[in-house]
């Protein structure tokens, strides 16, 4: 298996820049297993990233890779997918990148239901810039720009994606790697916009300020605080507070943007 995955890596670009205990490598591993499982054509799969720790993943991958500007990965990916719908396009973005500066592009990519798979590496923090709070930092947690704890509520990414128009939403963690791999594969297979959120550990910028001092503690936190969606429905709402709901959270059928473009626009313009 390891040998299979190695062919997707630009090993000449190693060592990578991630810290010890970082969850980004685990998410990346899940992504590559999903790509491998689906046997995606390496020459026809484009991986696009934004700015931040997680987005740097694209530089280590042996595909056509595009490391864009902060928050804009989905907009670049939209151009690629619309210009060449036959290409598989996967987007890697962090919680600050996709939910703060890139929030507008996120809701509009979801609204169009364009066939992109967004793998959202959620480590609850801006890691690269030194631990500032993001729109997904849980309320009350500390960050360098929230020394007394955050007072801002977080986005419910799944509800946001669903309301905006995404056709597949899933969430996994770096503890539940089998589940996460399966969800990413499902996202890639979904003909439409898919959000797969991956809860990832950042012990150096987030954990250490919030009583989780290393990667292992953070993985245990993910294990103990996650509830599978199939079980969540059977629990009283009080017990779900502060819990991470994981699994395939939402799926619906809808027309995909580039297919609609080809079908409706090209048909009606009379060529």
């Amino acid at each position: 298996m390891m040998q299979d995955l190695k062919r997707y890596l630009r090993t000449d670009r190693f060592p990578h820049l991630w810290c010890p205990g970082c969850g980004n490598g685990i998410v990346l591993g899940c992504m590559l297993r999903a790509i491998n499982k689906l046997a995606l054509d390496q020459d026809h799969t484009i991986i696009v990233g934004g700015i931040g720790c997680s987005s740097r993943a694209v530089g280590y991958l042996d595909f056509d890779t595009l490391h864009t500007t902060h928050g804009r990965a989905l907009a670049y990916a939209t151009g690629i997918k619309l210009a060449r719908p036959e290409l598989n396009v996967i987007v890697v973005s962090g919680d600050g990148d996709s939910m703060a500066i890139g929030g507008n592009h996120f809701i509009h990519a979801a609204r169009r239901n364009i066939d992109l798979t967004l793998v959202l590496f959620n480590n609850s923090i801006y890691g690269m810039t030194g631990g500032q709070y993001s729109p997904l930092t849980p309320v009350g947690k500390k960050a360098t720009t929230a020394p007394y704890g955050t007072i801002e509520p977080t986005f419910d990414t799944a509800e946001l994606a669903r309301a905006a128009g995404a056709t597949l939403v899933g969430r996994g963690t770096t503890y539940h790697t089998g589940l996460l791999t399966g969800l990413i594969a499902e996202g890639i297979q979904n003909k439409g916009f898919s959000l797969i959120e991956a809860i990832a550990a950042c012990p150096n910028a987030f954990g250490c300020r919030n009583k989780m001092n290393n990667g292992k503690e953070m993985l245990l936190w993910q294990k103990e605080n996650s509830v599978h969606v199939n079980r969540a429905g059977r629990l009283p709402p009080g017990e779900l507070e502060d819990k991470i709901i994981i699994g395939r959270l939402y799926r619906r059928e809808a027309s995909e943007y580039t297919e609609l473009y080809d079908k409706q626009i090209l048909d009606s313009c009379g060529v």
Binding site: R10, R13, Q42, D43, H44, I46, V48, R56, V58, G59, D62, F63, D64, T65, L66, H67, T68, T69, R72, A75, Y76, A77, T78, G79, I80, K81, L82, A83, R84, E86, L87, N104, H105, H108, Y261, I265, L266, C269, G270, V271
Partner: protein, 382 residues
């Protein structure tokens, strides 16, 4: 009926931009509504699907440039159109296109600013933004038409230059030229020069995405063709791999500028009238070149040795030509619908060898020939 009469048609400047883009092979447009550029998007939305192209209205101008860069990386000639406020938003990704060397064209139909200003009164206030709008020392080309036919020709030229040199090209229109209607005769399709990007001839294993060829430009592999390379806005080495190595970063930045500097003969386009014996030169561009031309003609009728120099390429600055003017002329008058953005650059090149003065307007109204003529008369009578 002669061919000319047969093919003559009344056309608007923005329409000419769209027609030029379609003629040179632009097949992707992403944009966001803003006056006075909207006609370009409207025509592209209607026409692109008919030639197998794609049009998309994005959520903002930031996304518009992102989308045309993405499309261009797959090998599709791509363009967007906007006006001042949108041009400001585009700067972030224009910088990316400059750094990552992705061909694309940004049409900016200038209007009065700053900020929302006077929508949509004419201005030429984005001359410096076209040069230095995005951060860092980046290369850029900006072309500026003065007529409807020139809007058509320079759109084609913009796309060609962006393909040839892998650089974002700004087509710096203004509201007057964008909304002007003139009779034009467009060239036949076989009369149009089309330049396509240089793609790698070597096998993917031997490809270094950012190793320049003999013209200073690296051949570009289109995404999805098996070359599997990395594109980034970070400083990068010849493979495209990010680097913080000072020498590698400096080599890259210097090459980005050098690829334009060594090809200035092809990039700089200029026009002139009555320049041979001119002692007073009017240097004007865009809509302002029209009253400037009229003023020079009227001055000649009064036996004043006046001439017109008209840069169609605003950036890179035509330093050599302006230096020649400085040796020849006593005075260079620079009329602009701004407070002297290009005049300062002219003064830099002239270095005191001639007197440089401006005729400026920032009230949303055009500069008329009489104002420029008066400036010429004032100079002569001094």
């Amino acid at each position: 009926m002669s061919r000319v009469v047969e093919l003559a048609r009344l056309m608007q400047g923005n329409e000419a931009v769209a027609e030029g883009a379609l003629a040179v092979g632009v097949r992707f447009f992403a944009g966001y509504p803003i006056t006075p550029s909207t006609e370009v998007a409207k025509i592209m939305a209607e026409r692109l699907p008919r030639v197998g192209g794609k049009f998309i209205q994005m959520e903002d101008e930031i996304a518009s440039v992102a989308a045309i860069i993405g499309a261009s990386l797959t090998g599709v000639k791509s363009l967007t159109a906007t006006s001042g406020p949108g041009f400001s938003l585009m700067q972030e990704n224009i910088g990316f296109a400059a750094m990552a060397e992705v061909p694309c064209v940004i049409v900016n139909v200038q209007r009065s600013g700053p900020s929302t200003g006077m929508p949509t009164a004419p201005a030429q206030g984005d001359v410096m933004q076209a040069r230095w709008g995005t951060h860092g020392d980046h290369p850029i080309i900006a072309l500026c038409p003065s007529s409807v036919r020139e809007a058509y020709d320079l759109t084609i030229r913009s796309v060609n230059l962006s393909e040839q040199y892998r650089v974002p090209v700004i087509l710096l229109m203004d509201e007057v030229i964008g909304h002007l209607r003139e009779t034009v005769v467009l060239p036949l399709s076989d009369e149009i020069e089309i330049v396509n990007r240089c793609i790698p001839q070597e096998a993917p294993a031997d490809y270094n995405a950012y190793r320049a060829n003999e013209t200073g430009v690296p051949p570009i592999a289109n995404f999805g063709t098996g070359y599997r390379y990395h594109v980034t806005g970070l400083a990068h080495d010849e493979r495209g791999a990010p680097t913080n190595d000072p020498a590698t970063a400096e080599d890259l930045l210097l090459r980005l500028h050098d690829k334009l500097q060594r090809n200035l003969d092809n990039i700089i386009i200029e026009d002139s009238m009555s320049l041979d014996d001119a002692e007073v030169v009017v240097l004007a561009y865009g809509a302002t070149a029209r009253p400037a031309k009229q003023a020079v003609k009227e001055a000649r009728l009064r036996d004043i040795k006046a001439g017109l120099y008209r840069p169609l390429t605003l950036w890179p600055f035509p330093t050599a030509s302006v230096e020649r003017l400085a040796w020849q002329a006593r005075t260079i008058i620079v009329p602009e619908m701004n407070l002297g953005q290009y005049r300062f650059e002219v003064e830099r090149a002239v270095r005191g060898r001639a007197h440089v003065l401006g005729v400026n307007r920032v009230n949303g109204e055009l500069i008329v020939p009489g104002e420029i003529l008066q400036a010429i008369l004032d100079v002569v009578q001094k």
